[in-house]
Structures are given as structure tokens and as C-alpha cells.
């Protein structure tokens, strides 16, 4: 049991030591994850609503594709983008590899299918009378989407929360594309991987506790925002 008590004690110390390096890691994690969620939500939510509100051929295939992409391994996203962003790659000129931007790009790709798919589920979960009601009132497609945005906002926020969880908790993309550079691209998960490889299991677990605490805090804040909005 000392293993766990040591880890939790270490986590406590980590949080309240106000250690600059630890906070830099937490900040980097939050910065890249939240940015990725915002960028993925901008197309993801409207696309999700569109799939529900508009009939088009290939919808079934798209749905299967999205379901499959939800299982996309993070390292595979990392490997694919590595080939594009590396100096010899198509986008190598931009010098994006081993930057925060690279992690954001990777995590955006990773969670776009999730947010898209869960937005579809949220819109499908709306009251079955809603669509005919607003169509009968003459809502155009963009107006229908705007109404859905309000009516199923809890489901959409849940989609964002899942996307955030996936982004903040993944290690493959952050490691491959960010490179785990201290003070720059080191995130909570790559720091955990590093401490594990160093044999600092207690410290690694403490970072894990810190990650969960951070994710918890973000969710509480989102919950607050939900209850404030009408």
C-alpha cells in the first residue's frame, strides 16, 4: 500500500508545490487539448447536425466510417502526420514537427470523428417532434441547425467533453509529433510516459492523479457554464 500512499502524497505535493515545470506541463496539456477541441468542434458539430437534418446518398457509409475512425489509435495518427510534417515530408517546409501546433493538428484529427459522431447522436436524441415543428414553421437549413444547437446543447457539450478527455489523455500523438521536449511540448501524458520509463512509478502515478484532477476541474467548469446558460 505504500506505493499508493506515496503516489497520492506525491500528487498532493505536486499540486501545491507550485513547481514551475509541473505547471508548464499542465498548461501545455490544457492548451493543446482545449485548442484541439475548439478547432474540431467548429466543423464537427455543424457536420453532425447536417448528417441528421439533411438527406444525402452515402450517409450509411459515412456513419460506418465515423464509427471506425472513433477507434483510430493515437499512434497511427502520429505516424501519418509524422510523414507529412517531418523535414522530408510534404509539409516539412513549415517546420511544424515537434511543436505544440503539431500536437494540436494531431489531436484535432483524432477527436474530429468523435465530436462529429457524438454530435450526430446528440441531434438524433432530440425530441422526434422537433424537426417537423421547425420545418413547419419555415426554418431554413441553417436556421434548423441553429435551433438544434440550442435544443440538444447538453448532448453537444457531452460530445465536447468526450473529445477533450480523449485529447488530454492520449499519449501517442503528443509523443510522436510533440517530441516530449521539456518546457515546450511536454504534456502530462508524455511526462507520465517519461517518468514511467525512468522507473519513477510513484511520481508518474502522481502525474496521473494530477491529470485526472485537471480533467475533473475542466468538466466542473463546463458544467457550471451549462447551468448558467438558459
Amino acid at each position: 500500500m505504500t506505493y499508493f500512499t506515496e503516489a497520492f502524497y506525491a500528487a498532493w505535493v505536486l499540486i501545491f508545490s507550485f513547481d514551475g515545470e509541473v505547471y508548464a506541463v499542465v498548461f501545455t496539456s490544457l492548451y493543446v487539448s482545449i485548442t484541439a477541441v475548439i478547432i474540431a468542434a467548429l466543423p464537427g458539430i455543424p457536420l453532425g447536425l447536417l448528417v441528421v437534418l439533411k438527406d444525402f446518398p452515402g450517409k450509411q457509409v459515412l456513419q460506418h466510417g465515423l464509427n471506425t475512425l472513433m477507434a483510430l489509435p493515437t499512434v497511427v495518427v502520429g505516424l501519418l502526420l509524422y510523414g507529412l510534417l517531418a523535414r522530408q515530408g510534404v509539409l516539412g517546409e513549415l517546420g511544424l514537427l515537434y511543436t505544440r501546433t503539431a500536437i494540436i493538428i494531431g489531436e484535432t484529427l483524432l477527436i474530429l470523428p468523435i465530436i462529429w459522431n457524438l454530435s450526430i447522436a446528440a441531434a438524433r436524441g432530440a425530441d422526434p417532434r422537433l424537426l417537423n415543428t421547425i420545418r413547419a414553421l419555415g426554418a431554413s437549413l441553417p436556421q434548423q441547425m441553429a435551433v438544434y444547437l440550442g435544443e440538444v446543447r447538453y448532448g453537444l457539450l457531452a460530445a465536447l467533453a468526450v473529445g477533450f478527455g480523449r485529447a488530454v489523455g492520449e499519449v501517442g500523438v503528443a509523443m510522436m509529433l510533440g517530441g516530449n521536449i521539456a518546457g515546450f511540448t511536454r504534456t502530462m501524458t508524455t511526462a507520465i510516459a517519461l517518468e514511467t520509463s525512468k522507473g519513477e512509478f510513484e511520481f508518474a502515478l502522481a502525474l496521473g492523479v494530477l491529470l485526472l484532477a485537471t480533467a475533473f476541474l475542466v468538466n466542473v467548469i463546463v458544467q457550471r457554464l451549462q447551468s448558467v446558460s438558459p
Partner: protein
């Protein structure tokens, strides 16, 4: 007598099962028509089709004497008001709910408020305007949904089971309102009910719907008749 709807051989199926197969249906303009049928006879489906929300195959579909083209569906739909069975109100105030259709038509805020106030006065809804729509009784919901459709000044009003789930007072109000529409004869009114006697009492024309087809139903009893 001019027809607002004229349909021939309208067919609609769901999941491979035929729901509607109507050989001929004519609904008179500016009259009150009741569609009578048991639950599951296809009334709601027929109303979705008449409200142009649900496409169906047909040999002829004339709205106000004009053939329905997909491109003009939205334009025709603007002339139709639809109150669904157990209407759905948005999680907004009653005022916002009633003004929603005008907002979709991009009316200015002040004009929307005037129109909402006027229709609320007509239906006795002023005391409810500031209330959240999700906290209304069944009868109040029905009236708000009616106001929400009427504020758009539709040429056709379609009401699916408007008397179901109503308290006695609201039902009397509704019947009174329909009677006034009948006298004015400025608007086509189509409503459905499973109550043959009520239909006969209120409507000028009564159409029966049984097993997905319509019958001149003046005398038939839908509960025991052809089944």
C-alpha cells in the same frame, strides 16, 4: 367549390409496409374538414404529407390548383400552418415560441412583438407570454402551438388531434375558435379526430380514413365499420 388539395393515387410506405394508399382525395378551400379515423389508421402520416413535410409518391398532387414541384415545396409550405398532435414547444419563453416562425422569416424584432401580442390577445394568451413554455399545462401548450402557427397567417391550418388531452374549458375554447373560422371562411381548416360525433358537429366536410385509404365517411362508424 375550389379545392386546396387534390390528390390521386397517393402511396406511402414505411419500412416496406404500406401505410397509405389513397385513390382520390379532395379537400375544399376555405372550409373546415375533419379527418376521422382510429389510432394508427394513418392520420398523422397523411397530415405530415399534406403539410409538405413528408414526400410521398402520387399520380397527382395539386396544391391550390398547382402541381407540387420539389423546388417550390418550401414556398408552398409557407402557406400551411401545422399543429402536431401533442405539440412540441422549445425550451424558451411562450413569447419566443410564438414568434419563432416570424424570426425564421427574418422579421424585425418590433414587428414580431406586435404580431405576437395581437395573436395572444385573440387567443387569450397574454398572461402566459413571459412564462417558460416547458411549464405549461396540456391545454396551454395546444393554444400556444396554435398561436405559433396562426401568427404566420397561413392559408391552410392543419391540426392533428387538437382536442386530445384537453381540459373541458380549453376544448370549448378550441371548438368556439373553429366555429368562428367556419363563419369567416377565409382559411382552410383541416383537423383530425377519432370522435365521429365531434367531427360531424364541427366540420363542414368529414372524411373517414380506414386502413390507409379515405372514404366519404358521413355514415360509417370507424370503430365497428369495415374492420
Amino acid at each position: 367549390m375550389t379545392a386546396i388539395y387534390q390528390l390521386k393515387n397517393l402511396r406511402y410506405g414505411y419500412a416496406g409496409q404500406p401505410v397509405l394508399n389513397i385513390k382520390h382525395l379532395m379537400i375544399a378551400a376555405n372550409k373546415v374538414t375533419a379527418i376521422v379515423g382510429a389510432n394508427g389508421a394513418g392520420k398523422s402520416t397523411l397530415f405530415d404529407i399534406l403539410a409538405l413535410l413528408q414526400p410521398a409518391t402520387s399520380d397527382e398532387f395539386l396544391f391550390s390548383g398547382t402541381a407540387l414541384a420539389d423546388a417550390r415545396r418550401a414556398e408552398f409550405r409557407q402557406q400551411i400552418g401545422y399543429v402536431q398532435q401533442r405539440p412540441y414547444l422549445m425550451a424558451m419563453s411562450v413569447r419566443a415560441n410564438i414568434g419563432l416562425g416570424l424570426k425564421f422569416r427574418r422579421w424585425p424584432r418590433a414587428a414580431i412583438d406586435r404580431a405576437v401580442d395581437s395573436i395572444a390577445a385573440e387567443l387569450g394568451l397574454q398572461p402566459l407570454l413571459a412564462r417558460p413554455a416547458r411549464r405549461l399545462s396540456g391545454g396551454e401548450v395546444q393554444k400556444v402551438a396554435l398561436a405559433r402557427a396562426l401568427v404566420l397567417q397561413p392559408a391552410v391550418m392543419i391540426m392533428d388531434e387538437p382536442f386530445a388531452y384537453l381540459d373541458a374549458q380549453t376544448e370549448a375554447d378550441m371548438q368556439h375558435w373553429i366555429a368562428r373560422q367556419k363563419v369567416r371562411a377565409e382559411r382552410t381548416l383541416i383537423f383530425s379526430t377519432h370522435d365521429q360525433l365531434k367531427a360531424q358537429a364541427i366540420a363542414e366536410h368529414v372524411v373517414g380514413i380506414i386502413n390507409g385509404d379515405v372514404h366519404a365517411a358521413a355514415c360509417s362508424n370507424v370503430f365497428q365499420g369495415l374492420r
